[in-house]
Amino acid sequence: MRPLTILATLAAVATLTACGAETTSPPATQPVATTQTPATTGAPPETEPPATTETEEPATTAEEAVEKETPTATIRLENGAPVGGAARIEVTRGDLVTIRIRSDTDEQIHVHGYDLTQSVGPGRPATLTFAAELEGIFDIEAHESGAHVAELVVSP
């Protein structure tokens, strides 16, 4: 039954976070692999490379540093509809975002929330460049066809 599953997941989540509490409390120090090491692959006792599961934090910061440059998305419209369906453009707040659009028909591209509008047409590709300063999920639409072109996801 549904309520039971919810209760079960809830209990699971609660215990998970209770375990996670230890790792979150010392934030400044190097992530110590105390909780995770016994579980990972088991076999070699004294390997040098740290447990891969624990390196989540440095990994994301490195990725962020790369992404901070300029996340770029390219969208192609045929008959006012995006080829391959509506894309999801995921960026971090503060990123300088570049969206390139090509279209085989005349279109008005509108980014909701940021209220940016740009016209495109055959042989006239458009480039929208802006700093993603608003958090949330924003629709990008083609106003002539009314098609949902993409979704801009700005995380904190």
Binding site: R2, P3, I6, L7, T9, L10, V13, A14, L16, T17, A18, G20, G85, A86, H112, G113, Y114, D115, E133, L134, E135, G136, I137, F138, D139, H148, E151, V153, V154, S155, P156
Partner: protein, 459 residues
């Protein structure tokens, strides 16, 4: 993309899903604090029996409840209703440029909720149908030359069921009907609802119908029980927190009313989740196969979803009540459900609050532009027609903390209310505590569902 029509055509910014770690902490918090609350801090009933009431200064009370003020508020309500019907029927038929969809679904339906919680039953003062009903009965009494009673007494078994039907119809219009955000449709629905309400008031009397049968009075009236301000006759006064909620009359249909309030928000949230995006189209093609047109099949699928959400909420709550009843006592399960129904009001409040917080904060700003040009005719009545929405008003992180705190606080309030009612019903505090284990499970389940929905939005 194919799929069901998402009727919420008003939003410009959607929320980011709440991250899993925050949900985990909140759930843990609820579990720990609620077990502690049950543990024996609260061993005798404190709410409801003799609610304390501190009167406000008499001149203030009598000014606010005076006849001229009441009449003016009523007239304002009727005027607003008339403007909306006019703008809806004769204004530009655009969801964004006509004031009707934003006013009805954002300002009225969502915006009036925090106002009711803070300031009391404001809707009752401005209720256009109440004003129309009172004016009608005054005129009829003058014509007849005597005070007229209502033709029929309000049937006890009818309870709140007409209000339940009204709220289901409103939820259908808002969440499911493909034309629900069209100004003309909203105006027509308002006219139809006005006719139904006048009929109800005419047959059963103005106050009996408003107290039980009228959907929006039931909706805002339930939330107004949170307000620190209470009205007794022509006297206004202050009451302690939560003290107004045990006064919710346990009429037939009360559990259904709250299940609709919680279930419609649940369904609105569920529509954005992955399970629904695979289930919805499948249901829809099922209805398609038995002969419904594609549009109708989509509506039926969503209608099925809405009905299922309401039924699951009501069923889960009644399951908890049945468990609580197993402890002992001679009250039937249905009657016991009504006695505990008031504990669902905070849950309904935080479901709506967490779900519609940013919708209200962002789309609510559009009202500034729309009041200057309600029918979309290029007017600028108050010089605000150029206002735009500031989407930077509240960031994603703040939104998450507010949503999670609301959900947790609401369920704790629900727990307190249910616990207090159990103490009032059972003389033995230990027996009351034992009966509350079941309702604790229900509350934790509702918390989990609310947090899951918020963590799934657009995931």
């Amino acid at each position: 993309m194919t799929g069901l029509v998402v009727a919420h055509g008003l939003s410009g910014r959607a929320d980011l899903p709440i991250p899993a770690w925050l949900v985990g902490w909140a759930a843990t918090g609820v579990l720990v604090v609620s077990f502690m609350a049950l543990a024996a801090l609260w061993t005798s009933p404190r709410l409801g029996r003799t609610p304390s009431f501190r009167p406000l200064p008499a001149p203030l009370s009598s000014a606010l409840t005076s006849r001229p003020v009441e009449t003016l508020c009523g007239l304002a309500g009727v005027f607003l209703l008339a403007v909306l019907v006019w703008a809806g029927l004769f204004g530009v038929q655009s969801t964004a440029d006509n004031a009707v969809p934003t006013f009805v679904y954002v300002t009225f339906w969502i915006g009036l909720v925090p106002v009711s919680v803070l300031a009391g039953d404001v809707f009752r003062a401005f209720n256009p149908w109440r004003a129309i009903g009172r004016a009608g009965s005054w005129a009829a009494s003058r014509l007849a030359g005597e005070r007229l009673g209502s033709p029929l007494p309000y049937p006890g078994r009818l309870g709140r069921w007409p209000a339940v039907a009204g709220l289901v119809a409103f939820a259908w219009l808002e969440l499911i009907s493909p034309n629900g955000t069209e100004p003309r449709t909203v105006a027509a629905a308002a006219l139809a609802y006005t006719a139904v309400t006048i009929l109800g008031m005419g047959v059963y009397g103005v106050e009996p119908w408003l107290a039980r049968g009228e959907a929006f009075s039931a909706y805002f009236g339930a939330f107004a029980r949170f307000a620190p301000i209470e009205r007794r006759g022509r006297q206004l006064g202050l009451r302690p927190p939560l003290a107004g909620l045990p006064g919710l009359e346990p009429l037939p249909g009360t559990v259904a009313l709250l299940a609709v309030m919680i279930g419609s928000v649940t369904f609105d949230g569920f529509q954005e989740t992955d399970p629904w995006s695979s289930l919805g189209p499948r249901l829809s093609s099922g209805f398609d196969a038995v002969g419904a047109s594609p549009g109708l099949a989509d509506e039926l699928a969503a209608g099925f979803g809405l009905a299922a959400a309401i039924a699951i909420i009501a069923g889960f709550f009644m399951l908890g009540v049945a468990g609580a009843r197993a402890v002992g006592g001679d009250t039937g399960t249905r009657a016991l459900g009504r006695l505990f129904a008031h504990s669902l009001v905070p849950i309904a409040l935080v479901y709506a609050g967490a779900h519609y917080l940013t919708f209200l904060l962002f789309q609510g700003q559009a009202l500034g532009r729309l009041v200057s040009d309600p029918a979309g005719r290029g007017w600028d009545l108050f010089g605000t027609a150029g206002w735009t929405i500031d989407y930077g008003l509240i960031g994603a992180t703040t939104t998450w903390y507010v949503q999670v705190s609301l959900v947790v606080a609401g369920h704790l309030a629900a727990l307190v209310l249910a616990h207090d009612r159990a103490l009032a019903l059972h003389d033995d505090p230990r027996l009351a505590a034992r009966s509350q284990r079941w309702l604790l499970a229900v509350m934790v389940g509702f918390t989990g569902l609310a947090l899951w929905l918020l963590s799934q939005a657009n995931a």
